[in-house]
Point group: C2
Chain length 88, copies 2
Amino acid sequence: MEYQVKVEVSLKPGHSDPEGETTAKSLQDLRYPVETVKVGKVYTFTLSADSLEKAKKQVDEICQRLLANPVKDNYDSVVEEKSDRVSL
Amino acid sequence: MEYQVKVEVSLKPGHSDPEGETTAKSLQDLRYPVETVKVGKVYTFTLSADSLEKAKKQVDEICQRLLANPVKDNYDSVVEEKSDRVSL
């Protein structure tokens, strides 16, 4: 079975986010009423697994081993059975 | 009124995504059954506006002017009224 996976990796609170700071500064310069901006990453991919449970377990493992740095990142994942049309 | 905004910026199909390719390669090396990986960015911020409609309009403008490159990026945004506890 194929599963559609979406993982969002963001910095833990308290960690410096220079890209977010620069984005916030640019938005303020353009006179948008924005204070802080946080920047994160999204990874989308398709994973083959026997069951949804196994797919979720594997995604957790992937996040911990490769996509997120446990020292500074939080991650959040969504795993769904793949249909012909998946809106992400 | 304060609005919680989440913008996801991803590459349009057909544009080269070297970070996604490297991630896919690393996952394959670790024996995960993954083919292609797409990498995008998520921006989260709080915006002040008079109404939800105005907030959405402003977010569209922000995406077009600053966050997304119309030549190579797609963007998708979610704008919600800010409550005490917003789960993103």
